[in-house]
Symmetry: C2
Subunit: 252 residues, 2 copies
Amino acid sequence: MGVALAIQEAMIEPPARTQEASAASSAARPLRPTQIISNTDGATVELDKIGTPVVCRKGQSAVQEGDPAAYVYRVTSGTLRAVKLLPDGRRHIANFLMPGDFFGLADCDVHAHGLEAVSDSTLRKYPRRGFENFLEGDAQARRRLFAAMCKELSAIHEHLLLLGRKTATERLATFLLDLAERLAGGRGGTERGLELPMNRSDVADYLGLRIETVCRLLSELKNRRIIELIDMHRIRLLKREVLVEMSAGDCN
Amino acid sequence: MGVALAIQEAMIEPPARTQEASAASSAARPLRPTQIISNTDGATVELDKIGTPVVCRKGQSAVQEGDPAAYVYRVTSGTLRAVKLLPDGRRHIANFLMPGDFFGLADCDVHAHGLEAVSDSTLRKYPRRGFENFLEGDAQARRRLFAAMCKELSAIHEHLLLLGRKTATERLATFLLDLAERLAGGRGGTERGLELPMNRSDVADYLGLRIETVCRLLSELKNRRIIELIDMHRIRLLKREVLVEMSAGDCN
DNA sequence: CGCGTGCTTGAACATTATCAAACAGTGTGG
DNA sequence: CCACACTGTTTGATAATGTTCAAGCACGCG
């Protein structure tokens, strides 16, 4: 089990002209989150031969925690959540998955998380063995996979720090900035604001807080004119610097 | 950034007679944590050609958070901690590293964590490029690396759940059980108890608690005769079942 | 329009943090 | 060998952050 919940599909992009001395250091490559691979690219065509489409409507589960990890999934549209439950029903959301993200790559035996649609979503699923064979035959893809896993691990460790040591306010500020980064490559303070596909409860379970705390803190940020709540699922970041300050970013 | 803090060296054990149809499913292999590779094994000899020994006395740092990730480390004796800091000094311990564990494997550019000795320790360090080349030439080792990373990811996600959703008592119970599992393959309730190489402060920073809370809860467990505090760094688990119950293990 | 779901706000409460002090074990020097 | 200091641990009292319980609000939908 485990993760590689959200490995960006950038990793299987075929060798392209934009790569200079990439064979040298596979580690330091950019791997932009918004990089989308068109189906005309060689590797994706190859991979999609073994994939089948899946539709998952808002609220539905694509994968149950503990299911045999027979497939690897790639999100093609919508947003999903990777969920873990405690026996008494307490819920933890490990990550939100968006187009381009993979799910279940690192789940060896069974899936470590459930996969549920936050909004209507579509995925493609690949039989694990086929996916592994594909990787086995493509050293470039393997290197990209490893680099992507490193990137995700880094994010997870930031999240451990967040859950272990940050205050509620710091958590929320971090979340908003991360989401802005992820959704729009850093914009979101401009234009028509930041789209929150998930509800307050999801945010709470992701940040290790209660829904009421999330609400209260959002209201507080709104009152302090640091954010604007355009509607329930749309937020404009008015003072990003303040959020950055509030997020207690680490020392790196 | 990133991790693979504690990838067990089992992954580079050469193909052995104990592996049946291993080429088939690289995922479901056991990978016992206590598996130690003798230096006479082929792969380790190969690897150690490019490694140099490092000594790190209690309290010293082997790696600073943010250092260029020039080396991969393998613990040969002692216990170390992988540390992240917030700007104001709050500390988070991502993991404790014990003999056989690797550090820095997934740190692409710079190290995401500091590495400090909890007790006098020895390590071996391998230049990253050499380590990568070694992997590139050994598909078996690669598969084992991937399997080990999956296993570690699984553990990290359990820890996310712990930090996000478990109570202080549940965290401590989980910690004690995990440590018993790791140190002694499950014993520790028997014999001369469980060795805690780290101090209370380390435990607190690992569990997202304060040192006083850890002390108080340990005292409570002691008073309830669930554990026995033999000395400051030695604990006997008297009622493992109760701890298991208290740990709020997940649903899997 | 009325119901339902999800959001927001308030008040009381609980868990865990903070502050403070005492205690235990270890090593040092007189 | 004992007094002393030092570090790490334990315990207590108080405080704060975030939770819980409860009620009201708003938006969407039949």
